[in-house]
């Protein structure tokens, strides 16, 4: 706005204007202008440029007029100002005041802009130098900065900002950085100054800041950048402060984070439960070789689409049964499901990891199955054996036995069933014992055992296969040759024995044998007369008798725990041969020597023996004698009878010899006699004739009868029978 002042000093301005001309020639005035620390001389018609710090903010210039002319009567006539009202002045003396030469006269011009535009003014100071009025013209030019603000978000458009306005930074992923460029535009006419720029608010930073007190020329702009690095999804607030010369402006800042957040749920058995990465997804107990499944639902609960780049399982026992195709982008609120199958093959806990994107979950399930482990115990040492593995026995002497205990342990969590335990093929050296009743049920953590016994019958290696259900274990054993049987002896000596005896025989080893033995003592009879004697047998009946010799002992034990056995020597001449045989109880190894020692009992052929004579019948005229005896040679030639008369009686023929050879040849050669050896019973009847003296009948005359038997080897002792 331009205005025209009418002042008493108008004449002075006129003078000045004139003076200006004069100055152009020979001006008697020195005009010095000082703005701040800046001092400059000014000629009339010169211009004082005044730049305010801001619209409305005053700035002053001090003018110093010093008259250097020769006139002594100089005074200011008028000061006249024209131009923008933003200028004002003070300080010149009144026109009546004489101006002393070389004495500075001060004047102050103040510029207080009301607009950002450049404004002008003219100050004409007219003075009088005694004759004429001379103008001195001083031009004034005023400028002022005027800042405007705007910002341009990253990837966005420029937006003007009013003081207190909001700078919205683009949302960005957490920990990423978004930015906005802030412009300070000097749209005024003079240079402005920005003193400082600062920012507050978490996550907000400034970059590209100017130095403090940076001048911004008119029409120029100053830029800096606001950065935002979100730590949270939620919007964050901050502020940026710009300190100008005249004021401090604040602009609000806001920014937010972007996050694709995945939430998870487990759907199992109709129940849904939330789960977070790192937690365990539990599967129901599942029988081995069967399957169970769990569905995992993943949902994007964030504010930006998220991508699941992969879905996988790390570990065995689990499989992805169903899943979306990856990479899978889930918009906020969208979800997808992943089905995981649990396929245990063994008993026990099975763990793995499920990876969905960057998230890991522990998978845990229990396989339900019986799990059998097999051990064998030998010599106090337990060893595990696998299917088709080998069970090794301690080496054993033939005749001995060694056992290993097979243990079937169920380490699983379901009962196991054992339907069969057997040897792969019939074995003569391996036997099973203490077997459980089939089918046998083995509860979890329980053990069933049985014995496998190795009883070698020959030296060398032996193998067999042990089958437990469908499993096979190899049995391997070796046997050393059996210890030789110690010498043995009988409890009686070989030699002659009497017929009709019942001697006892015992059998004893010279030293203990380490293994239990059993055996048979066999009796044979070698008749000297070609006919055997069935009475020659053991007391227990028959011609063989079993015995046993406990391990580590020497004496044979017969029936009824007797240490001896009796036999009958019979009535026939011959040799009774006792031959033992020995076998081991375990394995049945025959230890009988090739030429076993025998006990030979000999019954010799001898003269007949008369055992008994009885009167089987007696009449008045005859008596019948029953004679029992034997002849080991099965031969009898004669019987002799001697009759002793009763006292007072006389017997004309007291001795009677009866040849009996033919009768006994017939008897002994007949089959009937063979049941009796050489034993016989014969009856003979004697008839008497004649007269009696003191008795009533003929047979009463005989007191007794003495009998003998004779063969080629001799005559038996007499046996007498009393007829009374």
């Amino acid at each position: 706005m331009t205005r025209k002042h009418t002042h008493s000093l108008a004449s002075i301005l006129l003078l000045l204007g004139v003076a200006g001309l004069a100055f152009g020639q020979t001006s008697p005035w020195t005009i010095r202008v000082q703005q701040g620390q800046n001092i400059q001389d000014l000629s009339s018609g010169g211009t004082i440029n005044m730049n305010a710090g801001a619209v409305g903010l005053s700035t002053a210039a001090t003018l110093s007029f010093t008259y250097t002319g020769a006139s002594t009567t100089v005074n200011f006539v008028d000061v006249q100002y024209t131009g923008a009202l933003d200028f004002s002045y003070t300080g010149l003396p009144s026109p009546t005041t004489n101006i002393e030469p070389n004495t500075p006269i001060g004047m102050t011009i103040t510029f207080r802009p009301t607009t950002r535009d450049k404004v002008y003014g003219k100050l004409v100071v007219t003075y009088n130098e005694g004759k004429t009025n001379v103008p001195v013209t001083i031009n004034l030019a005023g400028t002022a900065p005027d800042f405007a603000f705007g910002y341009t978000p990253q990837g966005g458009n420029a937006t003007l900002l009013a003081p207190g306005g909001l700078i919205t930074l683009p949302a960005v992923a957490l920990d990423a950085t978004s930015s906005a460029s802030v412009s300070i535009i000097n749209r005024g006419s003079g240079t402005g100054m920005v003193n400082a720029i600062s920012a507050t608010g978490e996550g907000f930073q400034l970059t590209g800041l100017p130095l403090p007190a940076t001048s911004v020329e008119a029409g120029k702009e100053l830029k800096f950048t606001v950065l935002y690095t979100p730590k949270l999804v939620d919007a964050a607030m901050g502020a940026v402060a710009i300190e100008l010369v005249d004021r401090k402006l604040t602009f609000n800042l806001t920014g937010s984070g972007l996050l694709a957040a995945f939430a998870y749920e487990v759907v199992s058995g109709g129940a849904t439960s939330a789960i977070v990465p790192g937690q365990i997804i539990a599967f129901p107990d599942t029988n081995a070789n069967e399957s169970s499944s769990v569905t995992v639902r993943v949902r994007n609960t964030g504010n930006t689409p998220g991508t699941v780049s992969n879905i996988s399982i790390v570990g065995a026992g689990y499989q992805i049964a169903d899943s979306p195709i990856v990479p899978l982008t889930l918009k906020p609120g969208d979800s997808a499901v992943v089905a995981v199958a649990f396929n245990p093959t063994l008993s026990g806990t099975v763990t793995a990891k499920l990876r969905i994107g960057m998230d890991l979950f522990d998978l845990s399930g229990t396989g339900m199955a019986a799990a059998m482990k097999y051990y064998f115990e030998a010599a106090g040492i337990s060893s595990e054996v696998q299917n088709n593995g080998t069970v090794v026995f301690q080496p054993m002497q033939v005749g001995g036995s060694t056992s290993v205990r097979i243990l079937l342990t169920n380490t699983g969590n379901l009962p196991a069933s054992v339907g069969s335990i057997n040897l792969g093929s019939t074995s003569t050296v391996f036997t099973l014992s203490e077997l459980p009743a089939f089918p046998a049920t083995i509860d979890p953590a329980a053990t069933v055992s049985f014995l496998v016994t190795f009883k070698p019958v020959a030296a060398g290696a032996s193998t067999a296969q042990l089958r437990v259900n469908a499993l096979t274990f190899n049995l391997s054993a070796s046997a050393n040759p059996p210890a030789a049987l110690p010498d043995y002896r009988f409890g009686s000596s070989s030699g002659a024995v009497e017929p009709l005896q019942q001697p006892a025989v015992s059998l004893e080893l010279a030293s203990p044998y380490p293994f239990a033995l059993t055996g048979t003592l066999a009796l044979s009879f070698n008749s000297e007369v070609f006919v055997t004697d069935p009475a020659v047998q053991f007391a227990t009946g028959g011609k063989s008798v079993a015995f046993s010799i406990p391990a580590g002992q020497t004496k044979a034990v017969f029936q009824n725990n007797d240490k001896q056995v009796r036999l009958q020597t019979g009535s026939v001449a011959g040799s009774i041969v006792l031959t033992p045989s020995f076998v081991t109880v375990d394995g049945g190894v025959n230890l009988t020597p090739t030429n076993p020692q025998t006990l030979v009992l000999s019954v010799a052929q001898s003269a007949p023996r008369l055992m008994n004579v009885v009167i089987s019948s007696k009449t008045g005229t005859a008596i019948t004698l029953q004679i029992t005896g034997y002849a080991t040679g099965r031969a009898l030639t004669q019987m002799d009878f001697t009759f002793t008369p009763t006292g007072g009686e006389n017997v004309s023929t007291s001795k009677v010899s009866v040849p009996v050879e033919s009768s006994f040849v017939a008897w002994y050669q007949g089959s009937a006699s063979q049941s009796y050896g050489s034993l016989f019973t014969a009856t003979i009847t004697f008839s008497f004739s004649g007269d009696v003296t003191n008795v009533t009948n003929l047979t009463e005359t005989i007191q007794s009868v003495s009998t003998t038997l004779t063969n080629k080897l001799g005559t038996s002792p007499a046996v007498s029978v009393n007829l009374k």
Binding site: N650, T653, I684, F688
Partner: protein
């Protein structure tokens, strides 16, 4: 006047007759009832060289052979039979009583003419007489009033001597064949063995409680009871037997495993025979002087017999299913 007796033998004068007369045979020591084989078997040979022969009569539940060795009473399928000609090739049998019931004990008299039968199931005694001629079986006599368990039994002629255990001990009764009531002879703690003396009038009974042997003289008449061997003479007696010559009484003791001999003449102990087994009884083997002392177990335990003849001793007799053969 003195007369001369001329001795003539058929052998020396009549050869054919002599050959027939002298024909030897095999001695048979007696007959036993083999409960395992359910048969009557002969004991072939003599003591010391004998063995059980093949079955003469089989398929019988109970049997007893007469002292003569010629007859036997057997129970077969509930019927009581008399077997004659036992030792012959073709024994004959005669049914004496159908439905004779269970017979536990059969005891013959000495002359093989009668036998007494005891049934524990029926609690009866029954006499079978005329066995050497026309057999007859008498009415059963209720013996239950006498006691609950028969502990000793003997038959003298047709008079029965029976010992019974009752609730208070034992008693020995005489049971006449006349139908009269049994007559108490003597009470004992435990009547365990009974033997008839050779005269058939006297008896000996052993008391298992006191170990005493009592002699009952003239048991059929005015009897008297004497102590033959004092208390403690024989422990746990299980059998009494009279020697063939009638001079010795043998008593078998189970606990001391021995056979004690007592002289019937001096009434003193005459010796003892130790045993290596525990005797169960003394039962005469028909036809001889042998007494069986136990039940044989085939293949393990022989028959054990006491020879009460001229040379007393204890012998075994092998018993097998295959007499005389290989075992």
């Amino acid at each position: 006047m003195k007369r001369t007796v001329f001795l003539v033998t058929f052998l020396s004068t009549l050869l054919p007759l002599v050959a027939q007369t002298l024909m030897p045979s095999g001695p048979v020591a007696g007959f036993v009832f083999d409960a395992e084989q359910r048969a009557i078997r002969p004991v072939l040979g003599v003591a010391g060289s004998a063995y059980a022969g093949g079955a003469l009569v089989g398929e019988v539940e109970q049997a007893a052979v007469s002292p003569s060795g010629k007859m036997a009473l057997v129970v077969r399928e509930g019927g009581l039979y008399l077997i004659r000609n036992l030792a012959q090739e073709a024994p004959e049998s005669e049914l004496l009583a159908e439905n004779a019931g269970t017979i536990d004990e059969i005891v013959w008299n000495a002359d093989s003419t009668a036998a007494v039968l005891y049934s524990s199931a029926a609690g009866t005694l029954r006499l079978a007489g005329g066995l050497d001629g026309t057999p007859n079986v008498g009415e059963a006599i209720d013996a239950t009033p006498l006691g609950v368990r028969l502990s000793a039994l003997a038959l003298a002629g047709t008079t029965t001597l029976a010992g019974f255990d009752d609730g208070e001990g034992s008693a020995l009764y005489l049971v006449p064949d006349t139908g009269e009531s049994p007559r108490l002879l003597v009470r004992l703690a435990m009547a365990r063995a009974l033997a008839l003396a050779g005269n058939g009038r006297d008896a000996f009974v052993a008391d298992g409680g006191s170990g005493e042997i009592l002699e009952i003289r003239n048991f059929a008449g005015e009897f008297e009871v004497l102590s033959f061997a004092g208390a403690g003479s024989v422990e746990s007696p299980v059998g009494l037997a009279i020697s063939r010559d009638g001079n010795t009484l043998y008593a078998a003791s189970a606990t001391t495993k021995e056979v004690l001999a007592f002289s019937l003449t001096s009434r003193e102990a005459a010796g003892r025979m130790p045993l290596d087994f525990e005797p169960s009884f003394l039962k005469p083997i028909a036809g001889g002087s042998l007494f069986v002392m136990n039940n044989a177990a085939r293949g393990s335990r022989p028959l054990l017999v006491l020879d009460a003849g001229h040379s007393p001793g204890v012998y075994f007799v092998p018993v097998s299913d295959n007499p005389g053969g290989e075992q």
